[in-house]
């Protein structure tokens, strides 16, 4: 039987076939965050035990305070969301990466760097960016509170098997184009519903050459293509990344595991329901102009006009995007003024991202009037960056250097206080530019870490290639 990588992992995890394309799937790792409070409350109200506490892991990443100096010790008691998670961890016996744990961080970053996310596993979390972890060759998906309760109570999830799609990326990324520019370009071409109903396998020479960090950045935004799942076949890069991680197998278990992981590939001749090919050689630094990630252009381009053939709904969305962003069709993106620059999130705040941004900043200063912040993807990333002196580079340039968490990504950091003010323009290394996401009335422009650093220096959106 020839099969796709996705199908192989899926089929291994079917506990019951429920008919009509639905399966009861076993969940190997259930990650929960501080937005899971309702789900835990429901579980407790129904007096249901947590079925597999040893397969449940938690971090209060969304609401933790991050825009504070790193020497600040987060209060263990002043954040009700974190307190709630801690009480539930004690009650049910699951592992909590607490806000003052040295391994705390954004749950998708923590799951990877701790070696909790392994090839061939199923990973679920009440957060749509769980697809990030597909980069290790796992089936990882996001879901809502009701599905969280279901997993807590049964360690399984009722899921409809999606069709599979392969996105094959040929060529090589040019200098100054990053994995973020690649995935934004792809979303711009396919649209925010381009892969709805599909599990996407990213493959091809560019993916094979990509680092694990780049693969995380790419899979992170599979959901911005409409796909719940993004997956990349595990290879030597994956094994090298996982080797020695705290929760990864070791010794003879490692050898057994690697032997199994070698089989986790799409077989020659396997059929995908859809295929898309692109060449990465012409990818240019991207910046979003609108209110969804498909509204992206290359930095030297301008806000596009209304497309021909837009129906009433599409046109209404386009007009709403222009009105909200305060930009006109034809406005060149290079030169749009900036109020806040944020480097953070599960998309783009790993060590390599911070190195790339710091390299642009070296010896330069943030423009007057710009507030710039870094929140590393995890506390481990923060320590590693500090060991290399990256924090000094950021601080000397005029950036704030904070603790790890979701921070300004979704406007929930420090219990919804880490947000911009109405009208402010935020250049952000995050993954969503939705209306009001970083605070009511704020406008978000998604970019790569080097582009964010350059914008902070220039005080406007600028082409990083002219700054480095």
């Amino acid at each position: 039987m020839t099969g796709t990588l996705f199908d192989k992992i899926w089929d291994r995890h079917v506990v019951n076939d429920l008919g009509d394309g639905f399966s009861l799937l076993f969940v190997d790792r259930h990650m929960i965050n501080d937005m899971a409070g309702r789900g835990l409350l429901t579980l407790n109200k129904r007096d249901l035990p947590l079925n597999h506490p040893e397969l449940t892991f938690a971090a209060a990443d969304h609401t933790v305070a991050t825009l504070v100096p790193p020497e600040f010790r987060p209060g263990r008691d002043d954040n009700p969301y974190a307190v709630n998670l801690r009480e539930n961890a004690e009650r049910h016996g699951f592992r909590l990466f607490d806000v003052d744990d040295p391994d705390f961080g954004i749950i998708h970053v923590v799951a990877a760097e701790q070696g909790l996310a392994l090839p061939g596993t199923t990973i679920a979390c009440g957060d749509s960016h769980t697809c990030t972890l597909g980069a290790v060759g796992a089936i990882a998906w996001g879901l809502g509170q009701s599905d969280i309760v279901h997993i807590l109570a049964t360690q399984t999830s009722i899921q409809h098997k999606p069709a599979t799609m392969r996105i094959w990326i040929d060529g090589a990324l040019p200098a100054h184009a990053t994995a973020k520019d690649l995935i934004l370009t792809l979303i711009g071409r396919l649209g925010v519903a381009g892969c709805t109903g599909h599990a996407v396998e990213f493959a091809g020479p560019v993916i094979e050459a990509a680092s694990m960090e780049e693969r995380f950045t790419i899979c992170n935004m599979a959901v911005e293509l409409g796909a719940r799942f993004g997956v990349i076949a595990p290879d030597d890069t994956t094994c090298a990344y996982l080797s020695g991680r705290p929760e990864a197998p070791a010794g003879s278990a490692w050898d057994l595991a690697v032997a199994d992981w070698r089989s986790l590939v799409t077989d020659d001749g396997a059929i995908f329901a859809a295929e898309y090919r692109m060449d990465a050689s012409d990818v240019r630094p991207q910046v979003t102009w609108g209110i969804n990630p498909a509204q992206t252009v290359a930095i030297e381009d301008a806000v596009p006009g209304a497309g021909t053939g837009m129906d009433e709904s599409a046109l209404a969305t386009y007009r709403a995007a222009l009105a909200y962003s305060g930009l006109d069709a034809g406005t060149r993106m290079d030169g749009v003024p900036v109020d806040i620059v944020f480097i953070g999130s599960c998309n783009n705040a790993r060590l390599g991202d911070l190195r790339d941004a710091a390299a642009v900043l070296r010896g330069r200063k943030v423009a007057t009037g710009v507030t710039a912040w870094v929140s590393p993807g995890s506390e481990r990333v923060r320590r590693e960056a500090e060991a290399e002196g990256l924090d000094r580079l950021f601080i000397e340039a005029g950036f704030g250097w904070g603790r790890s968490g979701c921070s300004m990504c979704a406007g929930a950091g420090n219990q919804m206080r880490e947000i911009g003010t109405p009208g402010q323009r935020i250049v952000s290394t995050t993954n969503r530019n939705f209306v009001g996401r970083q605070g009511p009335g704020t406008r978000t422009h998604l970019v790569s870490p080097p582009m964010a650093a350059a914008a902070a220096l220039a005080g406007r959106i600028v082409d990083v290639r002219t700054w480095s």
């Binding site: 506990v15 019951n16 429920l18 008919g19 009509d20 394309g21 009861l24 076993f26 190997d28 937005m35 309702r38 249901l48 035990p49 079925n51 597999h52 506490p53 969304h62 609401t63 596993t121 009440g126 749509s128 996001g142 879901l143 809502g144 509170q145 009701s146 599905d147 309760v149 279901h150 109570a153 049964t154 360690q155 009722i158 519903a193 709805t196 409409g226 719940r228 197998p249 278990a253 057994l256 969804n292 498909a294 009433e312 709904s313 599409a314 209404a316 969305t317 979704a410 406007g411 929930a412 919804m416 947000i419 109405p422 969503r432 939705f434 209306v435 009001g436 605070g439 009511p440 009335g441």
Partner: protein, 219 residues
């Protein structure tokens, strides 16, 4: 346990935009309005219905914007939302569905839905009803004009309006069964506890490195 969905009779409110994301439906940091601060809606604020579409619905001072359909008197009490493609994209926040339900919406008609949003709808007894963009536009025009009565009959998989139009809609048999009966998925899955336990036992044998932790299975 959700309320069974059989026949829905009511008014429809049009909001024809594509790609309406769940941050828009259920704003994380909602516009502060009189008497309340900002809340993160996923935890269930006390004003689910008021916060729905908060960033589109209110002006900078928190005043309701009269042009926004949900603020218009003629659409008050509507139970069907007519909207654009890829409705509910973005964040998995189930509060998007809770807010729609709190406002009174029981059925969302759109050319397509984001997958997590659709799953959240079913979990709360709401019907995401797919039909072509042309049809949604036509229904919206009728809803704006004569404000006809809409009927969604899940047993027959038909949407009809009092002006005479009837449209058949597709839905998976599995989802339809769940909505019609108002089933509790958790109760049903707990009946499979022995299958789940033997799955774990089998997998621990064949791929032990995935389950290095001391098990604490409870049934």
């Amino acid at each position: 346990m959700t309320e069974p969905f059989t026949i829905l009779r009511g008014k429809a409110v049009p909001l024809l935009r594509d790609n309406i994301d769940t941050d828009t439906i259920s704003p994380g940091s909602a516009v502060p309005r009189e008497g309340r601060g900002t809340t993160f809606s996923e935890h269930g604020s006390t004003s689910l219905a008021d916060d729905l579409f908060g960033n589109w619905r209110y002006g900078p001072a928190g005043e309701p914007l009269p042009d926004f359909p949900l603020n218009q008197p003629r659409y008050q009490g509507a139970s069907i939302l007519l909207t654009g493609a890829n409705f509910g994209c973005g964040s998995s926040r189930e509060s998007a569905v809770w807010m729609l339900a709190a406002w009174g919406i029981r059925c969302v008609v759109a050319p397509s839905f984001a997958e997590i949003f659709a799953a959240n709808c079913y979990a709360n007894g709401l019907l995401p009803l797919p039909c072509s963009a042309d049809t949604v536009s036509r229904l919206a025009a009728e809803a704006e004009g004569a404000a006809p009565g809409f009927v969604v009959d899940l047993a027959r998989c038909e949407l009809s309006i009092s002006s005479g139009t009837t449209i058949a809609f597709p839905i998976s048999a599995y989802r339809r069964r769940g909505l019609l009966a108002g089933l509790d998925d958790i109760e049903l899955s707990l009946e499979s506890r022995h299958e789940i336990a033997s799955f774990v036992a089998r997998e621990r044998e064949s791929r032990p490195w995935i389950y290095p932790y001391e098990t604490s299975i409870r049934d």
